[in-house]
Amino acid sequence: MLLNVKDVDFSYDSRPVLRAVSFDLEAGAMVGLIGPNGSGKSTLIKLLSKVLRPTRGKIRFRRRDIADTTSAELARHVAVVSQEPTVAFSFSGLETVMAGRYPHIGRFGFETQRDFEIAHRAMAFTDTIHLSDRRIEEMSGGEKQRVFLARALAQEPELLLLDEPTTHLDINHQIEIMDLIRKLHKEQNLTVLSVTHDLNLAAEYFHTLLLLREGSLVMEGAPSQVVRDEVIKQVYGADAVVSKNPRTGAPHLALVPRVAPATAQRKGVKVHVICGGGTASDLIRRLVIEGYTVTAGVLNEGDSDHRVAMSLADEVVTAAPFSPVGDEAHARNLELARAADVVVVSAVPVGQGNLRNIEAALLASSSGVRTVVPSSFEDQDFTSGKATALFNKLVETGAQTVSMIPEIFGILDQINIDKPQQ
């Protein structure tokens, strides 16, 4: 066992930050430390690197209490990279990396050729040799972080502690740094413990996740065990949908925005959306955000519009996957369409299966419901003309044609004026 944390408490002044934290880190582990802001993640890194002392409990590195080791001794085994390292003076890349040799050189010692070679290897590994003479403040965020990883590597550590190493980086550099950390773990046999607040990166890169909440370790396990809807809801208080990254299979988190009722000024205006195949996902989302009451139908289960509508709309008329619209569904769809203030038909491809949806729109339109249809629909017709005929009738009965989403909102704004709010 490389690191053993046992019953560690820590308080800033008298404010408790960590409570009874215990975990073990095996050599060769790649562990992510996650948790909401203020849950004590960074504090834990500071305790492990002896910047702070636990108020209770023990931290052992290779069975030895780190309180009994000197900082220099610890720094020869444990290196830290923080989220946004700063340097007070304009040191060069190489000078920065050479600082990693500090714990290996005595007070009266000098840097030897060997120290330099170790620094050079560290820079080669992190692809920073070309930054040797560049001033730190002239580097990009990603370059700077690679140089600081090289500095950590120059310490020749066994354990690498990272405190949100990618927080201030663009997404491309986030991936670059995380890939590099994984490479360090694999090829340099480094044990890695990294704080991160990006759950997707955490789930992607770490073998084990530790979840902290209000200073307590509440969960430890594989990403698929930890990154789950109900855990996110419980610990972070956020609605999230966890799916799988289609390329890597790692748990992937999508956040669902909460629609604040206070902003829903258009409550009361009902919009029924006839759609499918992802043609109205953006429209439905925007309608809901702007506060309209949205219904949709008939949609097949598994359709991407169906998924969006199910999570956002007030009511969705559902049909079984790949099945045609049945009588019952058609009747309910028609009811919703007639009850709506506006019916919107999206640029949905129309086949035999969902032709009845267009009939429903036509029936609603002819009974006086304002209806909006796409301006051209030949491309959508997979019924050899039947759908086109229905569309033409819709336009004849007064349906308005639009070619883009903003036009729909123009029409809806008119309704808002026509229909004073209660």
């Binding site: 700063t86 340097v87 007070a88 003076f89 060069s92 000078e95 500090y102 050189i105 007070r107």
Partner: protein
């Protein structure tokens, strides 16, 4: 693979050599300037006359007296004080991670002045047959240390010392200790004029200076040696105290050693020369542009450059009959203003 440390060492050695030659030139040139007309050539021969392997040519005795008894002591004193203040400035800047840190601006010089003034006014300097002079640098060091701790405690926010709070802390500390000095000096009686002139920064040897130097020089040497041993630590401290600990430094102890050393050299030279400001600002910044930020290069080059800088400033002061503190302030204040405007580019704080 070329070892960049040796590359840096070569560059530093070259810079040191050039600066030493420059210093020698400044010493000779400054020796020629004064009311008595001594030419460059005459000056060289006077200086050479003391060298064992050079036969003394017909050197006028009066020239010898002027150079060795009047001008050279003052030049050497300027060298010592200039080197000390430049090094103290560089150390304070490194410790506080702040480009505007400087003994005078921090109020450390005022604190030292209080200590030295107390020793002089109370008459400690004259007790025990000359040995009492040790009280002047000793109390000055104590005063410098108190002022340093006060300024640091006032200026720090968490673990950092931001530029604006540092300047405000310096203003407060300076105002307080200056008031204390004024209070003491106003009760000084016949010594008043001498003390006032000394306070404004004066490198003119007075009665007792030679005695004082016997204590000051070894203390400065001790301070320099300690600082030299901790130059690499100053580099690591530039990454912040937390990083320094994570890189294996006993940061608390290291900082204490450096604070005490820098306060020591500041305190003891203030005891000798009064408050000469801005040397610790102008010199380290200028030198940093040439040799880079590595303190192992910066500290020795700043020492020699500081010596030359203060000789030049003092020569101007001699000619114009003003305190040297006024000359350094006239150069230093615009420099300070420039740094204040451009600090983001100079340093990432």
């Amino acid at each position: 693979m070329k070892n960049p440390s040796s590359k840096r060492a070569k560059k530093t050695a070259l810079s040191l050599l050039v600066l030493l030659l420059l210093w020698a030139l400044v010493v000779v040139l400054s020796s020629t300037i004064g009311p008595a007309d001594i030419s460059f050539g005459q000056c060289i021969s006077v200086l050479c006359s003391r060298m064992p392997w050079v036969s003394a040519e017909n050197v006028p005795e009066v020239h010898e007296t002027i150079i060795f008894r009047v001008r050279l002591p003052r030049i050497l004193m300027a060298s010592l004080v200039g080197a000390s203040l430049a090094v103290a400035g560089a150390v304070f800047q490194g410790l506080l991670r702040n480009p505007l840190a400087e003994p005078y601006i921090l109020g450390v010089s005022s604190g030292a002045a209080v200590g030295a003034t107390v020793a002089m006014v109370v008459g400690l300097a004259t007790v025990a047959g000359g040995f009492g002079f040790v009280f002047v640098p000793a109390l000055a060091f104590l005063g410098a240390l108190v002022a340093m701790v006060a300024a640091y405690q006032l200026a720090k926010i968490g673990r950092t010392v931001p530029v604006h709070t540092l300047i405000l802390a310096g203003v407060v500390v300076n105002a307080f200790f200056s008031a204390v000095v004024m209070f003491i000096v106003s009760r000084a009686g016949p010594q008043l004029h001498g003390i006032m002139f000394w306070l404004m920064g004066n490198l003119e040897p007075v009665a007792g200076t030679a005695m004082l130097a016997r204590f000051v020089v070894p203390l400065v040497v001790v301070g320099f040696i300690l600082i030299a041993l901790y130059c690499r630590d100053l580099n690591v401290l530039a990454f912040g105290e937390e990083s320094a600990v994570q890189l294996g430094m006993n940061a608390g102890a290291v900082k204490r050693v450096l604070f005490v050393s820098a306060s020591l050299i500041t305190g003891v030279v203030v005891a000798m020369s009064g408050m000469i400001g801005f040397v610790g600002l102008v010199v380290p910044h200028s030198v940093r542009m040439i040799v880079g930020a590595d303190h192992r290069s910066l500290i020795p080059t700043a020492a020699i450059a500081g010596a030359s800088f203060l000789i030049v400033a003092d020569t101007v002061a001699r000619v114009a009959s003003v305190p040297v503190g006024a000359v350094t302030a006239l150069i230093g204040c615009p420099f300070f203003a420039y740094l204040l405007r451009t600090r983001k580019r100079v340093m990432n704080v």
